[in-house]
Symmetry: none
Subunit: 419 residues, 2 copies
Amino acid sequence: MQIEIITVGNEILSGRTVDTNFAFLARALEAASVQVGWHTAVGDQSERIAEALHAALGRADAVVMTGGLGPTPDDLTRKAVATALGRPLRLDEQVVESIRARARTLRRTLPASVETQALIPIGAQLWPNRLGTAPGILILEDQKPVMLLPGVPQEMEALAEEHLVPYLRKRSRRVVETFTLRTSGVFESALQEKIGALPQGWSGASLAYLPSFFGVDLRVTVAGDDAEPVERVTGRAYRELRERVGPVVYAEGTHTMDEVVGEILLERGLRLATAESCTGGLLAKRITDTPGASRYFERGYVTYSNASKVELLDVPAADIEKHGAVSAPVAEQMAAGAARRAGVEVGVSITGIAGPGGGTEAKPVGTVFVGLSASGSTAARKFHFAGTRYAIRERSVQYALDMVRRQLQALPLEPRLDG
Amino acid sequence: MQIEIITVGNEILSGRTVDTNFAFLARALEAASVQVGWHTAVGDQSERIAEALHAALGRADAVVMTGGLGPTPDDLTRKAVATALGRPLRLDEQVVESIRARARTLRRTLPASVETQALIPIGAQLWPNRLGTAPGILILEDQKPVMLLPGVPQEMEALAEEHLVPYLRKRSRRVVETFTLRTSGVFESALQEKIGALPQGWSGASLAYLPSFFGVDLRVTVAGDDAEPVERVTGRAYRELRERVGPVVYAEGTHTMDEVVGEILLERGLRLATAESCTGGLLAKRITDTPGASRYFERGYVTYSNASKVELLDVPAADIEKHGAVSAPVAEQMAAGAARRAGVEVGVSITGIAGPGGGTEAKPVGTVFVGLSASGSTAARKFHFAGTRYAIRERSVQYALDMVRRQLQALPLEPRLDG
């Protein structure tokens, strides 16, 4: 079953509100084996809403619309759909009563306009909205379900989980399995060369390369009519992909690098301290994004000035003088100093040139050293990152965390597809 | 001019990646007087891409497509557009050369597949990509611009700002003026009450309230056919709005709080140190987002453990025992300790409960203290922030920076609309 999702709302089309409803619905539907084939967004204009619905009915097996079900004059979805499908609106007394009951429960006087939400296209089925006044609406148009949900995220999410997804899961007979391998440290093109034509042998499967600052995610989706072959192909794809790219996989699914590092530290009973210069706190911030990080993260030093590197981390001023603050020896001493001063087992450091200024011919913008101190020994790696200050800082942190992971898992510090 | 934006990518259509590119483009285009009329998202399938392009050319005055310009086999936009418009791809030697030059600069071997990005539809004009290998592509199809941008956000954003927006601004003849006042510390509803019906007197103008973790931005857009009345209304709107909400405006346009704080520090020749617990480095990170922050940011302490608060910031252990680490006295001592240890004039601290765990009845999740130390005196403010761990951390940092700003500008530490 291929579905189209239509988002209605000027606030979405103007870019002021990011359309997180769509992403939520698409993920929820995938779990119900329903594939989203198209997504369209239009503003609060009856004609555009009707056009979008007609186009969707022409190509998709089912249509979900979100937004425009509120009580204000710019909420036009109900009316536009009623006109487009030739199903006049009638006042649904049960909905009126549930709106009034809700007002009583909340001890609130709702304006009369709220009752326009009880205007429902003839022949529609309703899904009660536990969290608001606009019910979900289901219309079968030539056997194709057209489903209207409110745009308020929490109401939309509850209606989707309680009604929309179960309803579509029942209707769809298609089976979809999916998994994601998250890689770090190698380029998309290198992965592609290594993986080669492999996916062509997996019938019903597709492989997507999803690059970001955090690395390249490999997502495999397998679809079919029966569970058995879908599971078989998924298993095979998983094994073959892991075989090819395993050495650079740091996580699966939506697991993040900072979560992975945290879990390893917890498991091993180790604690971590950070020392950073050009990333200015981003490394510590990433580690503490995970709730409960205090169990393994002791402290972080943001040693932006050279004086603070000397005072707080015991980096010899002579080394800064000789090698520069952006150098392997200083990175190693920062990591070692952080671990020693914090009294913890693992120290990790970042020093580099995030730009846009500050680059030289010998050390251009994007030159970054990551230092590591663990079990009494230290190491450093040098990187050249491309992109903006933002990109350079994000990448530096991801590589630093990956170095911690590699050290603790006794892998070579430098990611290699062959090893 | 009404434009359609088409996003290409399975990762978008599956909901795994939220389409922030679209929101960025819609906002950037609005600034160029270009209205987004439709947004469509399709997966990595040639047929769907071609269909979406045809539909868009049938209704919009211009089409922007993002995504699918990479070097891997699932990047199909170039080919699909070439086929749909009947413009065969040819290898552009200049693009090949720029890809090779890029590889040399980065001292990297790029695989041969990267050069597929030099395959360009015949008759297209190219926009050079400073941050990646896929250039932007402009095709005039029956006088309608079709513009292809890569999906990597930073590359897309740079190409949009440097080429797409200036190009479309030139083509559109409507006069649009816009300004934004950024407020912090008061709710949208309070601003609304204060501003009242004011905008109804500004002909041709619209006022948008844009709430985010950073506060509420007030954006005024004035459109018309002639420059003179548009400028007159803009000037009036600006004066009247500043008059009403001036006391809570921290910046204009896209100026950020950390930039504003940095400028004040620079101007006054002051330096700053930070000490943070629950924000785990985010405060220092925000300050160092601005290039050149080393001129006023000396160092940051991420004192996650209690021991580190005592050791690094001289917070008396007895005070942590007595008041708790999340308390006004500890916040003040953290700020004072950071300033004193760093030898700088201004210290700012954050200690709180970002959740989801760790809350108590007396100090629920979202309880945050910000401490300030400047010119030898200290102060603290208590906040109750709602929302997720992410939201609480972001809001804490914004309020902490605003407190530094207010202190240095001799404003009352607590924001009030009345002055």
